[in-house]
Structures are given as C-alpha cells and as structure tokens.
C-alpha cells in the first residue's frame, strides 16, 4: 500500500502538466487535476488486486469520463448544439419518457426483434437443410462469408421501397443483415464434432436426426450463440439506419434524424443512450442464455 502511494516519475510529469495547464488557463488546470486525481485513485485500487477492484475500477473510469464531460461543457460554456452535458441529457430522458418508449417499441421491439427472430431462424433452418449436402455447404460457406463482409446496410433504401415505411421494411433489412452471419456460424458449428464422437453415435445405431439432436446441435451451440451475439448488434444498427431512408413519425432513427435537423442534440443523445442500453441488455441477455445452455464449455468453467 505504501509503495502504491509513493509518488513516482509519471506523477511528477502529471503534476507539472496540471501546473502548466493552470498557468495558461485555470479551467484547463482544473480539468487536468480532476483527471489526474481520479486516475491516481484508479491506479491505487487496481494495484490492490481484490475482486471488488475488478468492478470498481471500470466504474470509476466511466464516472471520471462523465464528470470530465460535464466539467468541460460547464466551464467552457459549450453550446447545446455541439455537445449537451450529461445532466442535460438525463433531464431530457426524464422529460420525454413516453416518446422514448414509443420509439423503443417501434424500432426495437417491432423492427429489430421481429427481424432478428425471422432472420436467425431462417438461417438456422437453411443451415440444417444444407447440412446433408457437403456440395451445397462448400458452395454456401465462401459465398456466405463474402456476403457477410459486404455493406449490406446499403440494401436499406431498396427494402424500404418494397415494404413501405412502417416497421415491416425495417424488419426486412434486419433479416437480410443477420441471415448470412448466422448461416455461416451455424454451418461451421455443425462441423464441430470429431470423427470419434460421430463413430460412437454410429455404434449406438443412432439415426441422422438422433445424431443431430443429441450430439451435433449441442456441440454447435457455442458457434450458434456467437452468431446470435454478432446478429444482436447488427439488428439494432439495421433497424435504426433503415429509418433514415423513410419511416412513420415514430422510431429511434426517425427521432435521431429529425432532432439533428432541429439541432435538439439532447434528444439525439437521449435516443443514443436508450439504444446503448437496449443493445447492451439484448447482448447481455443472449450471453446469459448462452452460459445456461453451454455450461459445459471450457470458457465458462473456472
């Protein structure tokens, strides 16, 4: 503990930076001092190496960024149209909960979730369907890998033209975006079993479907969940960006683009906060189910 509290050379560099900043502009000095102080606190906590530190350090770091953001905006009078302060964003979120909820339902529940469900199950069923033909697999894997790397988001204007402005077109964009990553992951996962394991199933005289359900699908689960996790992020992006090409007067993408037009940046940031929370929860939820389904996988065992 004493060793951690002793001042070291980087600290003197930091202190002189603060002094220099304070000499040129007291506000800069203040910001630098707060940064250095909280960073120093983090260094000390990190050096302790306890389990609590694993949660405290990132939390303090996030908080530090928020405090610095607030300080910079307040001290330098940054106008709202460039960067709203975190407190202003929080106030906006508290004020417009009904609007945010409507947008959330329109974009996330109707657009992203339905598209995610349709796209992922279609990809899964396709993977099962081509599973018996190694010819089709060898054809589909490279093509699927190729398409998964393309800027598929560009199909959004076409699909909005076909399916209209409402959530159906957003769901369609999400379906197209998630299909190939999911397909590639599932096909790869179904190849995961070793010859030994498959031979064992044959000595049991297991049928194709028994082998599939009892051996190969469970073995494919880590890959399938990896695909689902990738797709969860893609789904939200697809649903929001598709709304830039036309939408009813509700939805997160619609709100972001109109609020940018009105220079109501606090509303934009409020939507971004909602999107970030929704995206993290969606991802976290899938990760939880994964842990429950693939409890046997080495990466989940201590």
């Amino acid at each position: 503990m004493n060793a951690a509290l002793r001042w070291s050379i980087p600290d003197w560099v930091g202190l002189s930076l603060v002094a220099l900043g304070a000499l040129s502009d007291w506000r800069l000095g203040l910001v630098l001092a707060v940064w250095l102080g909280l960073w120093r606190l983090n260094t000390v906590i990190a050096a302790s190496g306890s389990t609590a530190a694993r949660y405290a350090v990132p939390a303090i770091f996030g908080l530090t960024l928020l405090i610095l953001w607030e300080m910079v905006v307040q001290l330098y009078d940054v106008p709202l149209v460039i960067l709203p302060a975190p407190t202003a964003i929080a106030a906006r979120i508290a004020d417009s909960l009904p609007i945010l909820w409507q947008d959330f339902v329109q974009t996330f529940v109707k657009g992203a979730l339905s598209g995610f469900a349709i796209g992922c199950s279609a990809a899964f069923l396709t993977a099962i369907a081509v599973d018996r033909s190694s010819f089709l697999q060898r054809g589909l894997l490279p093509v699927g890998n190729f398409i998964a790397a393309l800027p598929i988001i560009g199909t959004a204007p076409i699909l909005v033209m076909w399916f209209g402005f409402d959530w159906q077109s957003k769901a369609a964009v999400v379906v197209v975006m998630v299909f190939f990553p999911m397909l590639v992951n599932t096909v790869q996962g179904l190849k995961e079993t070793t010859a030994m394991q498959r031979d064992l199933m044959r000595t049991y005289a297991a049928s194709y479907w028994q082998t599939l359900f009892k051996l190969r699908l469970p073995a494919a689960m880590p890959f399938i969940f990896n695909g689902l996790k990738i797709c969860s992020t893609l789904a939200l992006i697809g649903a929001i960006v598709a709304e830039f090409f036309g939408s009813p007067i509700v939805g997160m993408g619609f709100r972001i683009s109109t609020s940018v037009g009105q220079l109501a940046l606090d509303m934009v940031w409020a939507e971004i906060t909602v999107a970030a929370i929704a995206g993290s929860l969606f991802y976290g939820g899938i990760a939880l189910i994964e842990r429950w389904v693939t409890f046997w996988h080495p990466s989940h065992q201590k």
Binding site: V57, G139, F244
Partner: protein
Amino acid sequence: MLTRVLPVFVVVAAITGLWYLACIPMNAHQSVTDLERAGEVVVPGGAAERRDMAGVSLVLQNPAAVQAAFGQERPRLPAPHQVGAEIWETTANKRITSKRSLVYHGWITLSATLLGFAIGTVAGIALAVGIVHVRAMDMSVMPWAIASQTIPILAIAPMIIVVLNSVGVQGLVPKAMISAYLSFFPVVVGMVKGLRSPDRMQLDLLTTYSATRAQTLWKLRLPASMPYLFTSLKIGIAASLVGAIVGELPTGAAGGLGARLLAGSYYGQTIQIWAALFWAAILAATLVGLIGLIQRVTLNRMGMAA
C-alpha cells in the same frame, strides 16, 4: 481446385437464376401497365383493379408480362444484366471526374475509408500497447471497449457529421472520424489478445536475457501479435467502409457511394441504387482481399503461416 470452385459457381448461378425469376412477379404490375399502354389486351383492364393483386397471379393471367419484366427503366427489382450494364456504363464509359461516374464516387468513399482506417488502426494499436503494460488502464478501459461493441455506434454517424458541419469541419474528415471510430475497437480488442499471446515460457526467456520492457515489446509481443492484428484489420476495414457510406447519407449532395444510394432512393432510380451497392460490395471485397494478401506475404516471410 474443381471441388472448391464448382460448388461456389453453382451457388452463385442459383442465386442469379432466382434473381431473374424474382424479377417477373416483382415487376409484374409495371410490365402489365406497359403492355396496356402499348395497346395490348391485358386481363384485368385498368391499373386500379390490378393494384391489390399478387404479382404471381398477374403474370399467370398475362404471360406476355414475363418478357416485359427485364427491360424496364425503373423496375422494382432490376435484372442482373441491367445492373451490370449500369455499372459498366458508369465505370468505364464516363470520365472519372464526371459526377455520374461511380469511380469518382467510389474514390470519395474510399479516401474517407482509408484515412479513417489508418487513424483507427494506429490509435487502436497504441491503446492496446498501453493496456498491456499499464494495469490500471487495462482494468479501466477494457470493459468499456468490449461493452461499446454492443452499442449501435453506426446510428450516431449522421449526428457526428451534422455537428462537425455546424462547427465548420466539412468534407473528408467527419466521415473519416466515423470510419476511425468503427475500426478502432476491433483493433484494440484483437491487439490486446495478440500482445498477450506469448506464453509464460517465452516471456521468462526474455527475462533471463534481462530484456527491457521495450525490447520485449519489439522483439516478442509485436511479432507474436501479427496474426491477431491482420484478423482485426480485416474486420476493421469492412467496418470502416460501412461507416464511410453511412456517413455520407445525411450530407446527400457531397458525393460518394452513400450519396448515390440516397439520391437513387429519393428519385426512385433503382438501377442506380443497385449499381452503387455492387460497387460498394466490390470495393469491400477488394480491400479485405488486399489485407488478406498482405497477411499471407507477411506471415510467410515471418515463418508464421498456418
């Protein structure tokens, strides 16, 4: 060779075939209307009666609509050869300085992509080196770097453009910043993994040589991280391109493949949208392929090729 190429060829041919087939019902309403205007007898006369009919049943009642589906000026779904012709027309037959040339628009997008990719990669590697060496940095930044990948960053791209526009930053830089941001996190996460990939034994060996931390970094950690770096670079450059395209959406007129997409969607020029889309796809494939090539050459020379 044949066992690898033939399946891919068959799948691509099947997709193209399905595409041609899909054109017929997708464009049926327009083709029947065109036939009626040309003076032919069509089964339900008048566009109003046909509006709610499915495309398939319309084609079944008017077989002539099949032929008319492939040559329309603004089809709902253009046929592959129409898209191909448009790409050829706007790539090879236009001067590359012309605003109608896709080479011109592609270059605008590509320059933003490459600038952003370079910034994002350099910053990502720098942060990864810091994370590996400073414990507090690792514990502070890594959870946020991983969490930030679950956030739809792309959705705020238009906002960044508009905000930077309002403070006077225009043109290449705002788009490049979005590209940089998108390629930044994959590089950080991949490089941290790569710089940590040397095992205990190798690190101990360098300790017995009394190597400094800088020497360990240059002679062991950086070379060992190369396979990881190239994998993240491939993800990063694809993300950069998507970022640059989405970044072009709100500024509309300024040019670039994203602007072509948006203009096409405003004026119903479907063939133009598809052509821009394919150009973006070719660009993405070329960039990823190029990095793959550099990867193979580099890893071969380092003796690390798989």
